[in-house]
């Protein structure tokens, strides 16, 4: 079996944008003026033209086409980033998001003129509630972390409404950094709890810290080790007993669709990542969307405006929610991202989504089974949709997880998530997702097995990697010491 997924080829160099172009070039044409020229007063206008380059249309096309070839996307190859769910981004979703009736819709048109958009919002909210077992949703948060902030604001508002002030929130040591950061934005002090020997949270640990000054707990399920938090129902009971609420980070929902309902196990508020579980593209950093979902008793606190059904059956937007935490974005949220997620859910249906989770879990377990004799598995507990290895077997050869990640690129794969979660030394978190086929998984496994051999027999190869990419390892130290953030 060939493992030569990656090869060298002709790659075009390309200067910075302002090193291209020539004064006098312009990439657009204009019609004749049909209204009189009316200059703005001198004291408000800039004295020179904007300081941006002058490029012809082809200059622009060549520039960005070449830059794009330096990237690696899901469309290029396997992208097994743990907890990111880099599944295939369907092209039909792009077509739907590009329809004029969605893309060219102004947010302030009268309600009668946007019934299609409002219907999409209502149906998507209902779908997401159905998938998660929650009662009500807001699509407004612009990203997962923003959804977490919404959740924390809801928690804060709910406590305030009851006349209570609580200062702490419980956060497991496996939590994503956004969790404590979001809690801190609401004035909560994170109380860290350690996961048990099986890699999951133990109810007793939570019981020992939960008190009446603790607003609740933020958990991720499955957690960032890819393990199902089996003691969660008991943990929810413990937290509820002392008047707290349970927040679930739904980033790993790809393991559970159709199998587990988060609302059914005691979660009060949670968020989802549409750019993970629901296939919307990451775009090199975003935009995603982080809808927040709640149990009925928290519905009054959801961000506004909310989509409602009026008496005549038409859809509308309402700000008539006096207990709402308020508005979180300028308008309603990332509508065009919702269009993509909606298209995905309609394309898969209940059976398709369930199958996606089942195959995601199958793929991760397959990789775990095929690599466990070579890479160290910190936990015997079977994983769900992602598996985590440590660097224990690499250390004797003075090879690090970072080295392995860099060398994987030479084999044509995007590296997995590295050094997270923090509880595993030199962690390598692998999430293949359900859209990778067996051949690709086998090639990935072979590449990692070969690298493990290289670590033993030829560690310099791994230390020097990557060597096939356009640039080799970059000096991040210099970039941080003497930052150059604009040209």
């Amino acid at each position: 079996m060939s493992i030569q997924t990656a090869a060298s080829g002709l790659s075009m160099n390309e200067p910075l944008l302002w090193e291209r172009g020539r004064s006098g070039r312009c990439g657009v044409d204009f019609p004749k003026d049909d209204v009189p020229d009316c200059p703005l007063p001198q004291d408000v206008t800039a004295s020179t033209a904007p300081d941006i380059p002058h490029l012809s249309e082809l200059d622009v096309v060549r520039h960005y086409t070449r830059l794009s070839t330096w990237n690696f996307g899901v469309d290029t190859g396997m992208y097994p980033l743990g907890s990111c769910t880099m599944k295939y981004n369907p092209k039909t979703n792009e077509r739907q998001a590009g329809l004029g009736g969605f893309a060219n819709l102004h947010p302030l048109v009268p309600e009668a003129w946007c019934q299609g958009a409002l219907r999409l919002m209502v149906e998507l909210e209902e779908d997401l509630c159905e998938i998660t077992g929650m009662d009500a949703a807001s699509l407004q948060p612009a990203a997962g972390a923003h959804g977490e902030l919404a959740g924390m604001l809801i928690l804060h508002a709910w406590l305030s409404h009851k006349g209570e002030t609580r200062h702490k929130i419980i956060i497991p040591d496996t939590a994503h950094g956004t969790n404590p950061a979001s809690a801190a934005l609401c004035g909560f002090r994170p109380v860290a709890v350690i996961s048990g020997p099986k890699g999951i949270l133990q109810a007793e640990t939570v019981r020992s810290v939960m008190d009446e000054d603790t607003a609740g707990i933020m958990i991720t399920n499955p957690n960032t080790l890819g393990l199902f938090e089996a003691e969660l129902p008991e943990i929810c009971r413990i937290v509820h007993e002392k008047g707290g609420l349970v927040y679930a980070d739904g980033a790993n929902m790809n393991a559970l669709m159709g199998i587990v309902g988060m609302g059914c196990i005691g979660v009060d508020v949670m968020h989802l990542n549409l750019h993970k579980t629901f296939s919307t593209p990451h775009g090199g950093g975003g935009p995603g969307a982080g809808p927040v979902l709640v149990k009925r008793f928290l519905e009054p606190f959801l961000p506004l405006p909310r989509v409602i059904r009026r008496e005549d059956g038409a859809f509308g937007l309402s700000e008539d929610f006096p207990l709402s935490i308020g508005r979180m974005v300028g308008f309603y949220g990332h509508f065009l991202v919702w269009v993509r997620a909606y298209s995905y859910i309609r394309s898969l249906g209940a059976d398709g989504l369930r199958q996606a989770s089942r195959l995601a879990v199958l793929n991760a377990n397959y990789i775990r089974a095929r690599l466990r004799d070579v890479y160290h598995l910190p936990y015997e507990t079977p994983c769900l949709h992602e598996c985590v290895f440590s660097d224990r077997h690499l250390l004797p050869y003075k090879v690090s997880t970072l080295d392995v990640a860099k060398r994987l690129m030479d084999y044509g794969f995007h590296p997995p998530t590295i050094y997270f979660p923090l509880v595993v030394h030199g962690s390598l978190m692998i999430e293949p997702t359900e859209t990778e086929g067996k051949e690709e998984l086998d090639r990935f496994v072979e590449a990692l097995r070969t690298i493990a051999e290289e670590a033993k027999g030829n560690p310099d190869m791994v230390h020097e990697a990557p060597c096939k990419t356009r640039v080799t390892r970059l000096d991040e130290v210099e970039a941080a010491r003497r930052p150059c953030l604009a040209g």
Binding site: Y64, G177, R368, E434
Partner: protein
């Protein structure tokens, strides 16, 4: 299902390798009390043809440009988007890539966003710009938190001429913090009234220019007032295109600039996603939230780009981070860069000029039919007129004819008389304006 490549044979062989009988067995760690009792109730799956039909029908229930004559802005603007912009930004190497944590195979995104940072910094007159925030509103809210951190003070002054939605977002962010929000009113000219502001303990003054009324605000004057009181000046905007012709906020003394970049090549999209353009002076760089891309070299001395100053961010500082932001609106920043590259200096200046000309023409004609400007400050492409009583009925009738004639803003500013916010961009022809006016006053 076409997204799942597994054959029955594949599944069988994989299960064998794992050592279990079925996929169900892989979920044995999920206790019975956690399982769903029944299947999810979702509509039947649609194949691609069926999806196309359904979505076209749904999209068809929305009235969108260009079939409308849209004379409204108020935070989202209809501009021409050159074909090269979606063609290039939509390339799947940009679209389906993740955050560039592995720089060796992400130089495309990294250089493109570094270029965006640079162009945005020049246009805003700032030293450093982040790789994007969610939108102008959240960028402004977080700027105020930055100012609070930097100055150690606990109150912010927010102008009423800032977009009402943006002010709501600021309130949402400040509510759990205990920090104080003080409002500054506006003058008859239509700009912020900085006289009588209680500057005690003020970390910043936040203003928008052009403001919600469309008026250009005299930022230098506010910079003097704010700096004199030991506070920062935070300038924002909802119409990024104004940067093509107006003096930069930085040149007028702004310390932080937080605005909405949707006008730079992003479709209106029913309000999202947008682009939070967030920039600051050099000394504030370490309090900036969001990703930053820096230039460096590789081991062979070849120039390249990396994410940098990550120690500000949540994945390292956790609860002490400058913000919780992780995913941003990076692809929107890329799109904006392509737009700016395509228009270039001349194209941007000219497009901005055309916007103002169209709006000036519309304002002039409205004045002639008895709807005068409410404010005397110069405007860019939006302005407020006082309509005669009963105009709302006319406006409703015009809607039937596919014309959205301005936005009533009385609910946000009850002290004004029948105020309507009008906008004209380069996409509105003179013919459309004349046709609209003929409908109002035949």
């Amino acid at each position: 299902m076409r997204y799942f490549p597994h054959t029955e044979e594949d599944i069988r062989r994989m299960l064998e390798e794992i050592g279990v009988d079925s996929i169900d067995a892989l979920f044995s760690g999920v206790p019975p009390d956690c399982r769903r009792s029944g299947a999810m109730h979702l509509p039947e799956a649609l194949c691609e043809w069926e999806l196309d039909r359904k979505m076209e029908e749904m999209a068809g229930q929305n009235a969108a440009a260009p079939s409308l004559t849209l004379l409204v802005g108020a935070g989202r603007y209809h501009h021409h988007i050159p074909a090269v912009v979606p063609a290039l930004a939509g390339r799947s190497e940009f679209l389906t890539a993740y955050t560039p944590y592995q720089p060796e195979i992400s130089q495309g995104t990294l250089q493109a966003i570094y270029e965006y940072q640079t162009l945005a910094a020049r246009l805003m007159g700032m030293d450093v710009v982040t790789a994007s925030h969610y939108d102008g509103a959240t960028a402004l809210a977080e700027s105020l938190l930055m100012a609070i951190r930097k100055t150690g003070r606990s109150s912010v002054v927010v102008s009423r001429t800032i977009h009402p939605h943006v002010r709501q977002v600021i309130q949402t962010y400040l509510k759990p913090t205990g920090y104080n929000l003080v409002e500054a009113g506006f003058t008859r000219e239509g700009t912020t009234d900085v006289t009588g502001i209680d500057w005690s303990n003020a970390a910043a003054l936040a203003v928008q220019s052009p403001n919600f009324f469309g008026c250009v605000e005299p930022l230098s004057r506010y910079a003097d007032a704010a700096h004199g009181a030991g506070a920062l000046l935070v300038a924002s905007f909802t119409e990024a295109l104004s940067l093509g012709v107006l003096k930069t906020p930085g040149s007028q003394g702004a310390d932080i600039v937080a605005g909405e970049g949707q006008s730079f090549g992003l479709p209106m999209g029913f309000g999202g996603p947008g682009l939070g353009m967030l920039g600051a002076r050099q000394e504030l760089v370490r309090t900036l939230p969001g990703r930053l891309i820096g230039k460096t070299r590789d081991r062979n001395g070849k120039p390249g780009f990396v994410l940098t100053l990550a120690t500000r961010e949540q994945h390292i500082r956790r609860e002490k981070a400058t913000s919780n932001i992780c995913s941003n609106n990076g692809h929107c920043a890329l799109t904006a860069a392509v737009y700016l590259a395509t228009l270039g200096a001349e194209g941007l200046a000219r497009t901005a000029r055309i916007n103002h000309n169209k709006a000036a023409y519309l304002a002039q004609r409205l004045q002639e039919i008895g709807m005068p400007l409410v404010f005397s400050a110069p405007f860019f492409n939006e302005f407020v007129v006082q309509a005669p009583p009963g105009f709302e009925a006319v406006r409703q009738a015009l809607m039937q004819k596919g014309i959205l004639a301005g936005l009533p803003i009385q609910t946000h500013y009850p002290e004004l008389d029948t105020p309507y916010l009008f906008c004209a961009t380069e996409t509105v022809t003179r013919e459309a304006i004349d046709r609209f006016l003929a409908e109002v006053k035949p």
